[in-house]
């Protein structure tokens, strides 16, 4: 049976993970999304290629396993080669359309972007305040907060609602100010280790730092050391995590429609 007919019968489409150099070699561990995991293939055109796998159009995408598979494949590739990650959920009709409508028209753009990324990957630093230490810090620094806290200390919650709201408001504002300051300190402490950095929005109310950086993968060890020094300074106050190497999600800019 011709392949085309099979694809149509089964409503198979091509899920696109990202763009890589055409000479990239897939790893035997590389698996796509779906159940069972899709077989990842490279669809090449000229010097660029798309990482794709077959996906069943009848099945909605978005199970936790789908997200993880998307991200693992791209991050694993990013550790080995430059990669332009697509946002989750990019699906095209056939491998032929991936070539004709994606790789061919944008070949030079993709190639240039991949060259810019050569040797680099994304790393994310996340810092979360240690709650008790944070509260102690704020209460020590802010007399009004300390007074409010004393006022609610031994009284029932219902009777101190206004004081509680005011105290919480002060705390929220203090956290925001601390986050700004600590983020700036982190950027300063790590400068020289990244080529570009983007401050991400906090995704938790006690986030201290959320920073995405483009870093040379051969500079990872030095980055870790610089981060450890900040970690020592902030010990017991902020818990830090370093994620990476990741595909450079924060550093690929989608072409604006109509531009």
């Amino acid at each position: 049976m011709p392949k085309q007919a099979t694809r149509r019968d089964q409503n198979i489409a091509s899920y696109v993970y990202g763009i890589v150099p055409a000479d990239m070699e897939l790893d035997s561990d590389d698996r796509g999304l779906g159940d069972p995991p899709g077989k990842v293939e490279l669809v090449r055109h000229g010097e660029v290629a798309a990482m794709v796998s077959d996906v069943d159009v009848e099945q909605p995408l978005g199970k936790p396993g789908d997200y993880l598979a998307h991200e693992r494949l791209l991050d694993s590739a990013a550790a080995r080669t430059p990669v332009l990650p697509f946002r989750f959920g990019a699906v095209m009709a056939t491998p032929e359309s991936v070539v004709e409508e994606l790789l061919k028209p944008f070949h030079d753009e993709f190639r240039a972007a991949l060259q810019d990324l050569e040797g680099q990957a994304e790393y994310i630093v996340r810092g979360r305040y240690v709650e008790a230490a944070l509260m102690r810090e704020i209460l020590t620094e802010n007399p009004e907060a300390a007074a409010l806290r004393d006022a609610i200390r031994s009284r029932p919650e219902d009777a101190t609602r206004n004081e509680r709201i005011r105290l919480g408001e002060i705390i929220a504002a203090s956290i925001e100010a601390k986050r700004d300051m600590d983020t700036r300190q982190m950027v300063d402490a790590l400068s020289g280790h990244f080529s570009t950095a983007v401050v991400r929005d906090p995704s938790h109310e006690q986030d201290a730092v959320h920073l995405a950086m483009l870093v040379r993968t051969d500079g990872q060890r030095a980055l870790e050391e610089a981060l450890s020094q900040v970690g020592e300074r902030w010990e017991g106050r902020v818990s830090l995590r370093l994620l990476g190497p990741l595909a450079p999600y924060d550093f690929v800019i989608a072409q604006e429609q109509g531009v």
């Binding site: 990202g18 763009i19 159009v57 909605p60 995408l61 978005g62 936790p64 993880l68 998307h70 991200e71 693992r72 694993s76 550790a79 332009l84 990650p85 697509f86 946002r87 989750f88 959920g89 699906v91 095209m92 009709a93 409508e101 994606l102 028209p105 008790a132 230490a133 509260m135 102690r136 409010l148 806290r149 609610i152 200390r153 609602r161 509680r164 105290l167 919480g168 408001e169 705390i171 929220a172 929005d201 906090p202 995704s203 986030d207 870790e224 450890s228 970690g231 020592e232 010990e235 902020v238 818990s239 995590r241 994620l243 990476g244 190497p245 990741l246 924060d250 690929v252 989608a254 604006e256």
Partner: protein, 140 residues
Amino acid sequence: MTTSVQPAATGQMAGRPTPTGLADVIDTILDRGLVIDAYVRVSLVGIEVLTIDARVVVASVDTYLRFAEAANRVDMSQTGEKGLPEVLEDTKGAAGVDRTKNVVQGALEAADEKLTDIVESHTARRKAPRSRRDEREEEE
């Protein structure tokens, strides 16, 4: 509490950042990366993509009340809390710490793994053994 210690507690490396990973992953892949229809609009296949609402941080009265309660709970006489390394040491002995260290460093080495704790200066201060790549390969 930092989450990447979990693999250490549950045994050596299923190896991948699991539930913790998911939050970070969703954070990243749902609103970042290239968008295919900015390039091609015609040939998108009509496939249903389930997405999760972005978690937005909005300060509300609820948040304020929660913060106030957190402040209320804090014992100001206490000079410092135990850090994670100390807690680990207390509960599991030095072996527990070493294990964490190995997991963390293994993750650093493995190209396709990405969950790393740098926090515990305690842990991080210890320099990596030269042979850790080899160790990791043995584990696999």
